[in-house]
């Protein structure tokens, strides 16, 4: 393993001084023709890439009001400069949201505004040249699209929109990031990000059924491709294979079992994640999400429930209806789609579940709000339900719960450092530094309240934390899903069924 720079963690999150170029070295692996071709992207950088890139920018300006408005109206007030976890962890000024956006804004000014054409020096306009493209590839792959900056911007400027546009432009000229593009290829080929084929999926689900039987004595099923089930459960594929994700999957299954609601997982749509969002591709998002809707129809289910995955919930909650809706073929009594936390919370409120808090007495728990859930979605009927519903579930499942510093939770939450298509080994240096603000807040409750478990509802967060927390001396077992706690606490066979 390479030597990584692990930032020092203090008592408070402090805004560091600027240090130019600290992350300029970090180049993501470029995609090759093998990954790009199946997606319809050029396999290598096209010859007239400057012209094509500028054309693509012009096209996107006409397609996305967000991009057009956000490139125009930034007043450079500086309010965002200390809000990005990557800036706080790296000190690189290009990781301040305003400077990241400036990488595109300077090109926009040069080619699309009178001032940039007439007096480029005065307004910081830049040619779309080799150097600029290099910076784009580097720094637009150092944004996890977490949208924390958009909360604090007086105009709501959302850097994620700009990052997505930049990645879309780069893909259009044949400059792709291997990680995201390769994964999308796997979804289309096999059905999920991890590339798990049906027999392997079947095997693992059977293994988990046995596991639950052994540990609880109850025959809890995790059906695959079962036509006529009430619910199609769409979970991130990491839930099938990774620790601690798998614990949550067993939790979902126990909830379904205890409620007496039949469900199924689909091998064709065995992925909640939608990396189409990370590369800013409307078409890919739509295509990937379509697999789920098709399966819901084919399997004749009445409800759609989405597992613990942050950006997947954003795409499902905010985009599915637009992309492939309406869901008028599903049971109108339930929101479509529904988050697994909403699902469990509803059952709990209706008295269908019995939770034994003492089962989690060895844990002192805190909750990490995952960015996409917190800042781009909702749960339940009320604004802010995305914060309260998971917390309600945790409080119902354990006796010791405490929140982290209020500037680091809810809509002000800090990214885990691995979101937005950056959960790849070559970006490890960034991922380690980017988690520093979260670690600072976490360490504080570990010391003040003896917290030893951080619950969360995102597959990427889980994977990222289990990998990088140990570098800060925090054991990876400290991280797990909300439904892992539910799984521990749920009393199987106490009473059954829901009216």
């Amino acid at each position: 393993m390479a030597d990584y720079h692990v930032p020092v963690v203090g008592d408070d999150i402090k805004t560091p001084d600027l240090k130019t170029g600290t992350m300029a070295h970090l180049h993501p692996y470029p995609a090759t023709a093998k990954h790009m071709d199946p997606m319809g992207f050029p396999g290598e950088r096209v010859e007239n890439w400057q012209q094509k890139g500028i054309e693509k920018l012009g096209e996107l300006l006409k397609k996305y009001r967000s991009l057009q408005v956000y490139l125009d109206i930034c007043v450079k007030c500086g309010a965002c400069t200390d809000k990005c976890h990557y800036y706080l962890g790296t000190q690189d000024p290009n990781n301040m949201p305003v400077m990241r956006a400036e990488l595109m804004r300077s090109v926009y000014r040069r080619y699309f505004t009178p001032a940039g054409k007439l007096v480029p020096g005065l307004v910081n306009a830049a040619d779309f040249d080799e150097e600029t493209l290099g910076k784009w590839f580097t720094y637009f792959h150092q944004c996890s699209q977490c949208r924390r900056c958009s909360v604090f911007c007086p105009f709501g400027i959302d850097t994620a929109e700009i990052t997505m546009a930049a990645r879309e432009i780069m893909n259009a000229i044949g400059v792709g990031h291997k990680y995201s593009v390769e994964i999308i290829g796997k979804v289309h080929q096999i059905g999920n990000n991890l590339g798990i084929p049906k027999p392997a999926l079947k095997g693992t689900l059977e293994f988990l059924e046995e596991e639950i039987l052994d540990s609880t004595g109850y025959d809890v099923r995790i059906p695959l491709d079962q036509e006529g089930a009430d619910v199609l459960l769409v979970a991130p594929s990491a839930d099938f294979f990774s620790e601690p994700h798998i614990q949550s999957l067993m939790g979902y299954a126990k909830v379904f079992h205890q409620a007496g609601i039949s469900f199924t997982i689909s091998s064709y749509a065995s992925e909640a994640a939608n990396f189409g969002m990370f590369i800013g591709s409307y078409d890919q998002q739509k295509k990937i999400a379509k697999r789920v809707v098709e399966q819901a129809r084919d399997l004749k289910v009445k409800r759609l429930v989405v597992g613990e995955c942050g950006h997947a919930w954003r795409v499902a909650y905010a985009f599915w209806n637009t992309l492939n809706g309406p869901f008028d073929f599903l049971d109108p009594r339930y929101p479509a789609p529904q988050h697994i936390c909403e699902f469990t919370h509803d059952l709990l409120n209706r008295g269908a579940l019995t939770l034994d808090k003492e089962a989690n007495d060895s844990f002192r728990v805190t909750f990490h709000d995952s960015c996409n859930v917190a800042r781009a979605t909702r749960m339940g009927p009320k604004a802010g339900g995305q914060f309260e519903i998971p917390r309600d579930l945790i409080r119902a499942s354990c006796n010791h719960y405490v929140d982290m510093d209020e500037d680091t939770i809810r809509e002000k939450t800090f990214c885990c450092g691995g979101g937005g298509g950056l959960l790849t080994d070559e970006l490890m240096d960034l991922r380690i530094r980017g988690v520093q603000p979260r670690v600072t807040a976490l360490k504080r409750v570990m010391e003040s309240d003896k917290v030893n478990f951080m619950a969360l509802i995102c597959a990427i967060c889980k994977a990222q934390f289990t990998k990088v927390l140990p570098m800060y001396g925090i054991p990876m077992e400290m991280v797990g899903g909300v439904h892992q706690l539910v799984s521990n606490a749920i009393q199987l066979g106490v009473k059954k069924g829901v009216v």
Binding site: D17, L18, L61, K62, K63, Y64, R65, S66, Q68, V69, Y70, D72, I73, C74, V75, K76, C77, G78, A79, C80, D82, P93, M96, V98, M99, E102, T113, P114, A115, G121, L122, V123, N124, R147, S150, V151, F152, C153, P154, F155, G156, I157, D158, Y282, Y317, F319, N321, T322, G325, P326, A336, R375, A376, T377, R378, P381, A383, Q386, F387, E411
Partner: protein
Amino acid sequence: MLTFLAYIVLTIFVLGFLSRIFVYARSPAPLKIATTPAPTTVSGVAWRLFTEVVFFNSLFKSDKLAWAGGLAFHGAMAVVLIRHLRYFCDPLPAFVAPLQIFGIVAGIVMAGALAFLLLRRLVFERVKYISSKADYLFLVLLLAIAGSGLLMDFALRPSIVDIKSHMLSMWRSVTGLPPIGSAGDVMFLLHLLLVGLLLVVFPFSKLMHAGGIFFSPTRNQVDNPREKKHVTPWAKS
């Protein structure tokens, strides 16, 4: 000639501003991207935008100094602009006359706030780093406008009646210049010229945040994507 110029400037400003607004309004927002928690009703969104525009809600959360300076500047400028109605309206609306003293105070606050914002750009490392020459020039320009205005109030009074009658007689003297009999008259010309410059660059600059904020999808969208299918024409296929 001055009046003639003023009309050209106003035309550029109005048409330029409207054309940008037209571009914002015409460009589609294909996906629901409200920054949550967001209002679930239209009236809730109206309130959200109102608090953003009038109180700078989000800025308050993120940067208290920028918030204080920004709010002081914008608020004071609003009062100053209302007070300026006395130069354009005849008869003067009843509510403007008693504002005279507030207008003067607001002028001082406006200049003070601008100086503070300029200082902030120069002193704080991160804000300095992100500032371009244009960012400074806007502040200097606004400061010069406020300063020349205040000077006319406190020291160099222009012969405002003569100037007004000249400007009203524009069509008779397209090439003529207004009477310049004192330093105050020069100050007035300068003031007018700087305002003209500001208005001309307005639609082509970051000053468009004034209209643009109403088109910011993260702030102006209702959080109801599950309840209501959101569709824009290009995304229909």
